[in-house]
């Protein structure tokens, strides 16, 4: 059964212990940043930063709401990165949920970066031998029966790890119990075919920088088209073969006629 994580931003205190735990577990270095007036640090994900807390000031009924959102790879059920990668370097662990990246296959085409609707995969631009990097859902910890590092560390109980279906039920019950607190939507339940990471929020998701996405998988149209490829190959080959035969035959026939005419003229002479 696929696992998931439920993030409830009403419980999050934006302490960013999850960021530290993630760096610690993955051995990622800190990044030098500049303070431009936001508490976000760093302000975006990178090859060294797999997760970060977003801080947004949202006006809510004339009151200021300081809203938070933890961002990291969503570990989609039908990942665009997996569909895009030409050498299958990104794979979905169907049992546990993580979308895992295989260094040994990747040659750095960066199509996964384009394909991800959440703009997650990041690249080691500063390295002569660069890889793609992103949140791993602590696949190694999951394999050992442990929770992801960020979930384990969260002191406020904003992160809950478990079976995806159970988490959706839990999320629904939280919304039902406090309908005035929550936006009536579980982000990630249906978006792009569903993601492993699910979100509850007390402000509109757009205000947190979570775009409104279709429920359709991002690879729906590419799959539709790719299915037609073998037919297209066969059809074009047959069409060209047929046209060649037809035009050659017409050429032979007209040459035959002029050849006959020459013979007639010779005979007549």
């Amino acid at each position: 059964m696929p696992k998931g994580v439920l993030y409830d931003n009403t419980r999050c205190i934006a302490c960013r212990a999850c960021q530290v735990a993630c760096k610690s577990w993955n051995g990622n270095p800190g990044e030098e940043t500049q303070n431009h007036g936001t508490y976000e640090n760093p302000t975006k994900l990178s090859a060294k930063t797999f997760t970060a807390i977003r801080f947004r000031e949202v006006e809510d009924d004339g009151k200021l709401n300081w809203a938070f959102a933890k961002v990291q790879c969503m570990h989609c059920l039908h990942p665009g990165c997996k569909a895009a990668c030409p050498v299958a370097a990104l794979q979905k662990d169907e049992e546990n949920g993580p979308v895992v990246y295989d260094d040994t296959r990747c040659f750095g085409c960066r199509y996964c970066m384009l394909a991800c609707p959440f703009e997650i995969p990041t690249f080691q631009w500063d390295k002569p031998v660069p890889w793609i990097r992103k949140c791993t859902f602590c696949a190694d910890r999951l394999g050992g029966g442990l929770e992801p590092a960020c979930v384990k560390t969260c002191p406020a109980g904003a992160l809950k790890f478990g079976e995806r279906d159970d988490l959706i039920a839990e999320a629904r019950s939280r919304i039902a119990a406090s309908p005035d607190k929550y936006i009536d939507h579980i982000y990630g339940e249906k978006e792009v075919g569903g993601t492993s990471w699910l979100y509850l929020s007390d402000v509109p998701f757009e205000d947190l920088g979570f775009r409104t996405l279709s429920d359709e998988r991002v690879d729906a149209n590419p799959q539709r088209v790719l299915k037609t490829v073998p037919w297209m190959f066969a059809g074009v080959a047959a069409l060209m073969g047929g046209l060649y035969w037809f035009t050659k035959r017409r050429q032979k026939m007209s040459q035959g006629e002029s050849g006959d005419r020459e013979k007639e003229e010779e005979v007549a002479k």
Binding site: S46, A88, F123, P222, V225, V229, M232, M240
Partner: protein, 389 residues
């Protein structure tokens, strides 16, 4: 006939310089990494090396399979003089694509991984295989020019035997990857502007590639005519130009139909600033060439043939820039403009291609015999004029 020695013309020196700059930049790229050599970033993972060198390069090389179809399948002998230059242009174009990839890929030494690691659900996997096999097909299709020069008659005979299967293979493979470059962008339904995103994007890519293939043959013939002295018959180029408005008209109908079907036709007026890019692409790439090439007087003028065909080419470049960069959403707070090194690579690769094209025309039987004769006559007259001066 003696051909006097000339010092290298200024154009060749400039092209050579551009290639040298490219080599220097390439070395820097491998030494310091992609971040140092380009302005690409996590917010914009693909820049002009993909948007121009790959996406435009592949489309602009479409003259190879279109002319091969016209001459060898539809049997229109009239166009025979341009089929070999078209195949050479296509071969060089795809070689440039390969070189650009060796620069752009993060780990180009693993480019062969697509041969052993397969994801058949990836449009890029299909593109990679089609481009690999098509390079081989183009090399084989061009090889008679080399074999003729070397007088290797046995290989020549074998190639001639498989010529038609090769041509058909080339058409099939080209149809595959020209359209799959469009399919690749179908993976981004909410990132690519709805002015361009449509489930038939692969068809639009194929149709535009066919039109620009013909246009590039006109452009390349015009430029070769000026630079190398072999002029192709105006009626031949005019014949190609006559077909272009039909292909572009069909393309525009598909494009508008797709917008209409999605209920997005109004966006061409409201979706600012992308609508400006859309209008530019349509006016330069469709309206101008159609207006010019539907007039037979224009199709008989070398100048207007070049202008019209050049407009098709420019329009295609604008379209590919739009779909890969200008109308493709980036991460918030990201901006992108190519670094001088990115320009140096793209320009240097084109310069190298032009140089090789000129060398090939000098040493191999690319054009018909009587046209080479004209060039030699011109050189002799030029020297005679210099001697009497």
């Amino acid at each position: 006939m003696k051909i006097g020695k000339r010092s290298l013309p200024i154009g060749t020196l400039v092209l050579g310089f551009l290639v040298l700059v490219f080599i220097g930049v390439a070395i820097f790229r491998y030494w310091k990494g992609l971040g140092a050599a380009s302005n690409m970033s996590d917010g914009r993972g693909w820049g002009i090396w993909i948007g121009f060198d790959l996406y435009c390069g592949v489309a602009l090389a479409a003259g190879g399979f279109t002319l091969a179809a016209i001459v060898y399948i539809f049997n229109l002998e009239k166009y025979h003089p341009v089929v070999r230059p078209a195949i050479l242009t296509a071969f060089l174009g795809y070689m440039l694509v390969a070189f650009a990839l060796l620069i752009d890929l993060g780990q180009p030494w693993y480019i062969w991984h697509a041969v052993i690691y397969w994801n058949i659900h990836s449009p890029l996997f299909e593109v990679a295989w089609c481009v690999m096999t098509y390079l081989a097909v183009l090399a084989l299709e061009f090889s008679p020019a080399v074999f003729e020069k070397l007088h290797w008659n046995v290989p020549l005979k074998y190639i001639r035997m498989i010529q038609i299967p090769l041509v058909i293979a080339g058409i099939v493979i080209s149809t595959g990857h020209q359209s799959s470059l469009g399919s690749m962008l179908l993976m981004t339904p909410d990132k690519l502007s709805p002015l361009w995103y449509t489930p038939i994007l692969n068809v639009l890519f194929l149709v535009s590639a066919i039109s620009v293939g013909l246009a590039m043959v006109i452009v390349e013939s015009s430029l070769s005519g000026k630079a190398l002295g072999h002029k192709v018959d105006v009626s031949l180029l005019g014949g190609l130009a006559k077909a272009i408005p039909y292909i572009l008209g069909f393309y525009l109908i598909l494009k508008l139909g797709a917008l209409l079907a999605a209920g997005n036709l109004g966006l061409i007026f409201t979706e600012y600033p992308e609508n400006l890019y859309w209008w530019l692409e349509v006016i330069v790439g469709v309206v101008v060439p159609v207006v010019l090439f539907t007039r037979s007087s224009m199709r008989q003028s070398r100048t207007w043939l070049f202008v019209g065909a050049g407009s098709v080419v420019l329009g295609l470049v604008i379209n590919r820039f739009n779909v890969t960069m200008l109308a493709m959403r980036m991460r918030p707070d990201t901006s992108y403009f190519p670094s001088w090194m990115e320009f140096a690579v793209s320009i240097g690769l084109v310069a190298g291609g032009v140089l090789v094209y000129m060398l090939a025309n000098r040493f191999l039987p690319v054009v018909e015999h009587h046209e080479v004769h004209d060039e030699v006559q011109q050189e002799v007259h030029h020297e005679e004029a210099q001697e009497t001066a």
